[in-house]
């Protein structure tokens, strides 16, 4: 913690000390007590890098164990393919020569852009609708006791229904393919966004609202001026959860008979007994999900940095 330096005014008792007015206009020693300094910034950057490096330790260790077990034949390749076999499949998926497949056969070689873009598009379109619906209803519940009493019990009941239980209904309503997949992403993503928004808004301290009113804020401006910014850290947590759960729901949606998408590819790999391709699909889900979360966190950081601990 930085402390006051000799360049700061020193307040003394009696003659020679600064006048009251001078004390009022000069920075006092307590100013420096908790001030953020570039050195502090460097320390926190080092700390962040160290924490990220620590996050790689366990995955690298597990990869090493997998590698060792595969090399010594401890695990049957019928149960778990070798890491290098999965790496070859991944390379083939990304950079392999694209072969026009027969109608109805899900392509694999060189088909990564096609499958990834299809999955990501379904994910983002379903998620976008979930954000609009979740924020709107969540704000309503958080701001109004009447809306909370009317809607909250239904929301709590609906969110207890597993995503797979929505699958038959999605197929009846939207048929096989695209519509059902997006609907299931929406269902997966909307609950955490809605609940986090409602909860965060309802927990905004009354003192913020009172201060805002005292400073002349009109009541109709309170959601924009106070509730949203104060609740944003919690809302962002809900958006991140919704993003991840939406992405996890993509595969359920792609089991409804889509010809493209990571889920469709993995389903085809399962039918063909290609465990290496299944693991490539899982890797895609992990990497894209992680990247999505990193991007969302980076985009939201300027708005929620005030709540960092």
């Amino acid at each position: 913690m930085p402390t006051s330096t000799s360049s700061e005014p020193v307040e003394t008792v009696g003659d020679g000390g600064p006048s009251i007015a001078e004390v009022a206009l000069e920075p006092s020693p307590d100013i420096a007590a908790d001030a953020v300094t570039p050195a502090g910034g460097r320390r926190s950057a080092r700390s962040r890098r160290r924490r990220r490096a620590l996050g790689l330790v366990v995955p690298v260790f597990l990869l090493g164990v997998w590698w060792l077990c595969s090399a010594r034949g401890i695990i049957s390749t019928k149960l778990l393919p070798t890491p290098w076999k999965v790496a070859e499949a991944a390379w083939d998926f990304v950079a392999g020569s694209r072969v026009d497949s027969l109608a109805g056969v899900v392509p694999f070689s060189g088909a990564a852009p096609e499958h990834l873009s299809a999955s990501i598009l379904r994910w983002l379109s379903g998620y976008g609708i979930a954000v609009v619906v979740g924020l709107t209803i969540g704000l309503g519940i958080g701001l109004s006791r009447l809306v909370a009493d009317l809607v909250d019990p239904l929301v709590q009941a609906l969110r207890a229904i597993p995503i797979f239980a929505w699958l038959p209904l999605a197929l009846v309503w939207f048929g096989l393919g695209e519509g059902a997949a997006r609907y299931l992403v929406f269902i997966g993503a909307v609950s955490p966004i809605l609940i986090a928004t409602a909860d965060s808004v309802s927990r905004v301290p009354a003192s913020y609202v009172e201060t805002a009113l005292m400073l002349g804020t009109r009541r109709r401006a309170l959601p924009r001026r106070v509730y949203l910014p104060a609740a944003l850290p919690g809302i962002v947590t809900g958006l991140r959860l919704g993003l991840t759960l939406g992405w996890m729901s993509v595969i359920v949606g792609e089991l409804t008979g889509t010809q493209t998408g990571i889920g469709a590819m993995m389903n085809a790999a399962r039918e063909g007994g290609r465990l290496d391709q299944i693991l490539v699909g899982m890797l895609c889900f992990a990497v894209v999900g992680l990247l999505g979360d990193i991007l969302l966190r980076a985009a939201s950081r300027p708005f929620v940095a005030w709540s960092d601990r």
Binding site: E11, V13, G14, I20, A21, V23, A24, L25, E26, P27, S28, D30, I31, A32, A33, D34, A35, V36, S207, Y208, E210, T211, A212, L213, M214, L215, G216, T217, R218, A221, V226, P229, A230, L232, F303, A305, W306, S307
Partner: protein, 259 residues
């Protein structure tokens, strides 16, 4: 002129008289305020001294309009107080800054709501007056406790309120910083005459800041006694050893104990 500007131009720019007449307030079966009568004249600093839990904060919240009195009236410049308003700036012990706004955004918040066109100048003046130059972009959590309290007072002063209500604003600070805050606050009031009602349980603070000290009873709260503080305008750390201060403190303590 926008509606907001018109509204703000109607605000009194000079300190005004705040009066409470027979104000009562209960929460369920608990009677907190039992017929409080008080007044603070234009530019006067009324320090209310009372034991912890006596209802000081509730009284201040009623004066601020955050709570409605069950009975009695609160008037500012002869007009009844109904709800919170920029006319009555209140600062609590925990501070009232918005944690998501920078220091300068916090100080400019009130003037912006009023649609004023002198926001930058007002913020600049207050940053200088609070000794926070160089910290305009800092978030409240990046400031020390003393800095935050000065900023919170400046935030409400930005609205040029005729009345300032302070709820133990320096209570969470260490003794050294608190004394510095007292000196700073008196110099601030010398430049910006404002009617102030300050509640505290610190006799030194009441005598260093108040023009008059009102003594509150234990709950249910009433104003039971009052003492004029005739220690001059230049009060600071030297005042603590002044014989008049020492005598007045003994007198006030005696009255507080018998209240």
């Amino acid at each position: 002129m926008t509606q907001a500007q018109a509204g703000h131009s109607q605000l009194p720019q000079l300190p005004a008289t705040l009066v409470a007449r027979h104000v009562t307030k209960s929460f369920g079966a608990v009677e907190v305020l039992a017929g409080v009568d008080l007044w603070a004249g234009p530019g006067e600093v009324l320090a209310l001294l009372g034991p912890s839990g006596c209802g000081k904060s509730t009284l201040l919240r009623v004066l601020a309009g955050f709570e409605q009195a069950d009975d009695g009236v609160v008037e500012l410049a002869g007009r009844p107080v109904r709800g919170p308003s920029p006319e009555r700036g209140m600062v609590a012990q925990a501070g009232t800054l918005f944690p998501w706004l920078s220091l300068s955004e916090n100080l400019g918040y009130g003037p912006r709501q009023a649609g004023r066109n002198d926001v930058e100048r007002t913020v600049g003046d207050l940053v200088a007056a609070t000794g926070l130059s160089g910290f305009e972009d800092a978030l409240p959590r990046e400031l020390s406790g003393g800095m935050r309290q000065r900023a919170a007072i400046a935030q409400v002063l930005a609205n040029r309120p005729p009345v300032l209500l302070l709820d133990e604003p320096f209570g969470a600070l260490d003794a050294q910083t608190r004394l510095r805050m007292h000196e700073w606050f008196r110099s601030l009031l010398a430049e910006r005459p404002t009617t102030v009602v300050l509640v505290t349980h610190d006799v030194d603070e009441a005598l260093l800041l108040g023009d008059r000290v009102g003594m509150l009873s234990a709950r249910p709260c009433r104003v039971v006694d009052s003492v004029d503080v005739d220690l001059g305008d230049q009060r600071g750390r030297d005042t603590l050893s002044d014989q008049r201060f020492v005598g007045l403190k003994a007198d006030v303590l005696g009255r507080v104990l018998s209240a």
